[in-house]
Each structure stands twice: as structure tokens, then as C-alpha cells.
Symmetry: C2
Subunit: 135 residues, 2 copies
DNA sequence: ATAAATAAGACTATTATAGTCGGGTATAAA
DNA sequence: TTTATACCCGACTATAATAGTCTTATTTAT
């Protein structure tokens, strides 16, 4: 209930780790998983999502891994979260694929527009908080 | 994922309904359930929670029902949400029953304090948005 | 008395999240 | 050119959280 998913947490943790450990080599999924003792497969997926969303760059093969594409002051939490959770809206009827004015309740619940405003403010918080701020 | 629960939605909807329909009598759970075509039992529970949390007053017996205790400008969304979702924190380690510095990750994920700041900002949004604003 | 309403807790069903597994591709280095 | 390491990706399963139902008790106006 209004909680970040593990995927989002892992995205923040992984991004933070990459921001800090910028020793020459790229950081591997295994390194992050071992460091925090979390599922390697999940972290891998998260990192793949970060790469797909141009937040990280991936290098394949031996000596491969990931590095951040931008500097930590230019990466906002909303980017990291949306990379792993494309729809993170506080209510279904605000989701992107939801047709305008769709409301599952009879005669409409009428609170959609005010909630959209709340959503904008929450987005703003996650936009203005940068990776650099969680380091 | 960062989504309001149905309970929270119902709390907002029910509170809004009470704020608008203040015809002499109290509003019944049945009336609200019928109006939005949502589960009577669930709305009942939500209304009971609002009463327990001093947001609404309940009247038992025939002609019973609920009315709001305060005016809609004095009821914030955070009150309504917390009435039905006592712990609505964005991450487990920020929850009230969580001992300070508890972190499920090896060597700690280190993002707890910055996230607490994010949480405060989100709380502020829900505190500053009043029932009157969603009418 | 009766009917309409809240109160409360146990129970079940459904859905979302978290986590696993298997097969594939790319590449540095021996 | 073989091998080991690491990314890529989709399907699958298990678990947990949410949503919804059922039952019984209590209150109270008529």
C-alpha cells in the first residue's frame, strides 16, 4: 500500500552502488547481488531495465557489466523507478493505458482529477530527488 | 506499486460522499455501496475505521449511519488514508514498528535516511490536500 | 417485537509481487 | 578456437498482500 516494490528498491540500491564504485571496470550484477545478499536474477533484470532506459550502459562478455550513463546529479529517482515500474500511478484510472474518464465505479467516483494533482506533486518529489541525494 | 489500496480509495469516496450529502440524516454504508456499486461489507469496514479514528461519527440502530466529525477543510487525505492503512510508508524499514536501523540487506542498503526525507515530502502532499479539495 | 443499522472477526478468493529456471548471445583471454 | 564470464530475455512458480465474503452480535427507532 503506497509502498515501493523490491524492484524499485533494488534499482535505487544498484544505481547508488554504481555511482560509488566507479573503479575502472564496469560493475557486475553478481557483485551487487553478493554485496547486498539479494537475488542475482532480480538484480540482473533491474539492471537490464536500467540499460534499456538509457540510465546505465551494459557491456557484454567477460569483463562486462554496467556503468551509469549520466552523473548522479542528473539521474532522478523517478527515472529509476519508472525504469522498473512503467506504471507507478497512485490509482488505476490515472495509468497511461487507461482511456480518459474511465472509471470503474458506477456514476464515477469523481475524485480522479484531484488525485491527478496529487500524483503530479508526488512525481515532482521523485523528480527533484536525484541519485546524488541518496548517496 | 506505489498505488493506493481500494480501502484508501473507498475512504476518500465515502468521506467525499458524506461531505456532499449532508441531508439531515446520517449516511448509511448501504447508501454509499449502492451509489458506487461497491462492496457493502468493505465500505462498512472503511466507515468503521473512519469512526474509530474520530474522522466520522457513527450512529447505531435504525436511522443510524455516519456523519463527518470535522469540516472538509480540516480533514486531510493523510488522515483518511492512515485511518484505513496504518502503515503506508514507501519502504518497510520506515514503518513505525520497525526498530531503528533495521535493514534487511547485508551491510545495509544505506538509502534509508534519504528515503525518509522523500517520505516526509509525500506525507506533506497528503497532509496539505484536504477533503474539500477533492470535492 | 421487529427491522434496520453498526461492530467485529474469521474466512476465502484473487491478484500482484518476488523469486527461480533455462536457453540464448556476446566477448575477453588463454 | 575454445572456454569462462557476463549480459539478455521469457516463461514459470511460490509467496504475500489485497480484496471480498460470511457470520454473529449489538444497538435502537418505530
Amino acid at each position: 500500500m503506497l509502498k515501493l516494490s523490491k524492484k524499485s528498491e533494488y534499482a535505487l540500491m544498484a544505481a547508488r552502488y554504481m555511482a560509488i564504485k566507479n573503479h575502472g571496470n564496469a560493475v557486475t550484477a553478481k557483485e551487487i547481488a553478493d554485496n547486498y545478499k539479494i537475488s542475482f536474477e532480480l538484480v540482473s533484470k533491474v539492471l537490464q531495465n536500467l540499460a534499456k532506459n538509457k540510465i546505465a550502459i551494459s557491456f557484454q562478455g567477460v569483463k562486462g557489466g554496467y556503468t551509469l550513463k549520466k552523473n548522479p546529479f542528473e539521474i532522478s529517482l523517478i527515472e529509476l523507478i519508472q525504469a522498473v515500474e512503467p506504471d507507478y500511478q497512485i490509482t488505476d484510472c490515472l495509468r497511461s493505458e487507461s482511456p480518459k474518464n474511465e472509471c470503474s465505479y458506477s456514476d464515477c467516483c469523481k475524485i480522479r482529477d484531484p488525485l491527478a494533482e496529487v500524483q503530479r506533486k508526488i512525481d515532482k518529489v521523485f523528480y527533484e530527488t536525484k541519485l546524488a541525494h541518496i548517496i
